[in-house]
């Protein structure tokens, strides 16, 4: 069995052991099995990465669906993109598994949690390993399922269950687009294998702006919108914070939500030939980035802030895709996985210490009690704000530079988002770790640094967040852009129009964005450290602040536009169509049969003579009928 098949197999085995043996596998073993499965996959991925030849390798497992000329096989593809994704998923995934051992230790659903986490890893690996769109779609649906299961993990709270359903349904809208895109691909190319489809496009004379490609890319992008929480399908991600914090870190920050970006990079050859779609992708990304960042400014729930920050960062990635800076976007996927997972895990550590308090208005001064968490959280904050030399700076500035070359207006929007990012992150940091403690006395007494299983992943991720940027050091810093170099075969057939900004422009852009981030951070320092202001209690905000605090009332708007009409329609169908039409038909048939048979059963009166008489008459009739030619 090759290493490729082993990678998804380990988490699957882990899922089966922990899932089937739930409540039977001893608690001490559960965490070891779950983490070992993730680590084993990571080891396999790493050895594949080291032994990678530079050529895509397809491992064919079995033929799955063969209909007419269409053959859909279960096969895995290893190339630059899937290898990098594998490393991120299994690497960050392993750390989060280890962290969960400490974080979830007191939870009664400990085994269930690890089973779901492993199942998620399995589907996510399937998603990135699949060598065709259908296998990718299986993974795509599977991670959606696991996301649902894990958001609603504490299913005794009906709000959490609703959040899970919201996530699932929103994703389903996107999935429909993805599915239609796949159908269109099958219809047009007669195959779903990446190699076939992209090969045909590379060989064929597809002009830029080809109609079929336009539709395909648009539909695939709808899928990406759902999974990666872009406008208009982003509202599920903040609600998804109902799940346990490691879940938010793994699924809703580092891996699953980047599936949309992965998919677009995978299909970059199609997107590059559809400039209209790219324009849409870019602007949707820009709008999402700035909208989510602005909502993040006034949130008071530590996880909500991070959730909106995730949506906003995903927006940056899509912006990068929109200007065909694919490798820059992927670079941001990678660094974002490091620092956002770190932020979430740090938040988890805080929540753990605060006895499940998530409101930053009741925190403060935690840096003395939680030194490791504080230092790592600080590193992540600096990284996400784009201050050199931490990871976020390099990836974000690469995207910003490409956006600047493409469209100046989009760059301004992106810069505004970046300023807001810096502000809300430092606001979060200051309110949580500085100043005086604002919680109850009991909570203060309980404050403690998290166990080693939780702090170790924090430290490792902090190191990655700090040095992650050097994986792709740009040329102007005498770097080799090694990540872009490594990924370049993926874009061999893409006729990129994105051109490099010259060195002076690039440096100017960097200075501007760093200065903007620093000013925003200083402003946050002024507000929350020097003036010691604390966000007002619920319902005390006014004006624009109130609108933003309530997330621009987007949820309410969706509720009015979509949910209420559907509820009304459903009620109509339930009370009128169901009762008056369907029930009438169905029950009518039933009642009709009952009445008829009530009459007919009287024929069966038990008298033998009567039966025989009927038999004789019948035989005579049949005989007469068959002999009718002779008789008449």
């Amino acid at each position: 069995m090759s290493l490729v098949t082993l990678i998804p197999l380990f988490p699957l085995i882990g899922f089966l052991i922990n899932g089937i043996g739930f409540r039977h596998v001893p608690k001490s073993l559960v965490g070891i099995i779950g983490s070992a499965a993730a680590l084993a996959s990571f080891a396999c991925a790493l050895s594949l990465f080291i032994g990678f030849s530079g050529q895509p390798e397809v491992t064919h497992l079995f033929d799955w669906i063969t209909v007419g000329k269409l053959n859909i096989s279960m096969s895995f593809q290893i190339d630059q993109l899937s290898l990098l994704m594998l490393l991120i998923i299994t690497g960050v995934g392993s750390l989060i598994h280890i962290y969960s051992v400490g974080y979830m230790h007191h939870d009664e659903g400990f085994g269930k949690f690890f089973a779901f986490l492993n199942l998620f890893l399995f589907f996510m690996l399937l998603l990135v390993l699949g060598s065709n769109f259908v296998v990718m779609f299986i993974g795509w649906e599977g991670v959606g399922l696991c996301s649902y299961l894990l958001i609603g993990f504490w299913n005794k709270n009906s709000n959490y269950g609703n959040a899970a359903r919201k996530a699932f349904i929103m994703n389903r809208i996107g999935d429909l687009g993805f599915l239609l895109g796949i159908f269109l691909i099958i219809n047009h190319f007669g195959s779903v294998e990446f190699a076939d489809v992209f090969g045909k496009i590379a060989e064929g004379d597809y002009e830029s702006g080809d109609k079929t490609l336009l539709y395909i890319t648009l539909l695939l992008f709808v899928g990406a919108m759902g999974k990666s929480a872009q406008i208009p399908l982003y509202t599920w991600l903040p609600d998804a914070m109902a799940g346990p914090t490691p879940v938010s870190a793994l699924i809703h920050a580092a891996t699953m939500v980047t599936a949309g970006i992965y998919m677009i990079i995978r299909a970059n050859i199609m997107y590059s030939l559809s400039p209209e779609t790219l324009e849409i992708v870019g602007w949707v990304g820009a709008a999402t980035a700035v909208l989510a960042a602005s909502i993040g400014l006034f949130q008071n729930d530590i996880k909500k802030v991070l959730a909106y920050s995730t949506v906003s960062q995903l927006g940056y990635m899509f912006m990068g895709l929109g200007v065909m800076a694919y490798s820059s976007s992927f670079f941001h996927v990678m660094t974002h996985a490091f620092f956002k997972a770190l932020l979430f895990l740090g938040a988890g550590s805080v929540i753990h210490a605060m006895s499940d308090e998530q409101d930053i208005r009741f925190m403060g001064g935690l840096r003395k009690k939680l030194p490791v968490t504080f230092i790592t959280f600080l590193i992540a904050t600096i990284a996400i704000s784009g201050i050199p030399p931490f990871a976020g700076f390099f990836s974000k500035d690469e995207i910003l530079a490409h956006v600047y070359e493409h469209n100046k207006l989009m760059w301004v929007v992106a810069l505004a988002g970046s300023v807001m990012t810096s502000f809300y992150m430092f606001r979060l940091l200051f309110l949580t770790f500085f100043g005086e403690f604002r919680g109850t006395h009991e909570q203060e007494h309980h404050l403690h640094e998290s166990p080693i299983t939780m702090t170790l992943p924090l430290m490792l991720l902090a190191v990655l967040s700090a040095i992650g940027g050097f994986f792709n050091l740009p040329h102007i810093f005498n770097g080799h852009a090694s990540l872009a170099e490594f990924m370049s075969p993926l874009f061999a057939h893409t006729h990129s129009t994105a051109h490099e900004a010259d060195a002076s422009t690039e440096i100017m852009l960097m200075v501007i964005s760093v200065a903007a981030a620093l000013i925003a951070a200083a402003f946050a320092y002024f507000l929350y450290i020097i003036k010691k202001s604390v966000p007002a209690a619920d319902g005390q905000e006014s004006g624009l602040k109130k609108v933003i605090y309530n997330k621009y009332y987007v949820d309410e708007l969706y509720d009015k536009i979509f949910v209420t009409p559907i509820t009304v329609l459903s009620n109509f169908f339930h009370s009128v169509i169901e009762f008056l039409v369907i029930d009438l038909i169905v029950e009518g048939i039933g009642k009709g049969v009952k009445i008829l048979s009530g009459e007919a059963r009287l024929l069966q009166n038990g008298t033998t003579g009567y039966y025989i008489f009927a038999m004789v008459i019948s035989i005579a009739v049949i005989l007469a009928w068959s002999l009718r030619a002779f008789l008449f």
Binding site: R601, L602, Q604, N605, G606, T607, T608, G609, I612, F613, V616
Partner: protein, 112 residues
């Protein structure tokens, strides 16, 4: 032996039409007996009458067509009829022991 081989010829002394008409008449008598009588034993006898009407016809056709399988069939029918009579009479005896009558009009419990 000599005489056995003459049997078909003897049968052929009577025209086939007569056999058909006679068998039909016998069969109808059987049917009418089954339909009108209420005594189980008489019904039984009427059934035998019907069977034998068929047997007779089979034997007649067999002779006229010089095909012995018809007569072989008759033997089978007789054997089966004998078994049937044994079982049927036993049932009638049991019915009589239980309800002191063999009137089929009373046996009408098996209904809706």
């Amino acid at each position: 032996m000599q005489q056995m081989q003459q049997i078909p010829d003897v049968i052929k002394l009577i025209p086939l039409n007569f056999y058909v008409l006679f068998s039909s008449a016998l069969f109808c008598i059987g049917i009418v007996g089954v339909l009108t009588r209420r005594n189980a034993i008489i019904i039984f006898m009427s059934v035998e009458l019907m069977l034998n009407a068929v047997n007779l016809l089979l034997a007649a056709f067999s002779s006229y067509r010089a095909d012995p399988s018809g007569q072989i069939f008759v033997f089978f029918i007789m054997a089966v009829a004998a078994a049937e009579v044994a079982v049927g009479l036993a049932i009638i005896v049991m019915i009589y022991r239980n309800i002191q009558t063999i009137d089929v009009g009373i046996l009408n419990k098996l209904k809706w």
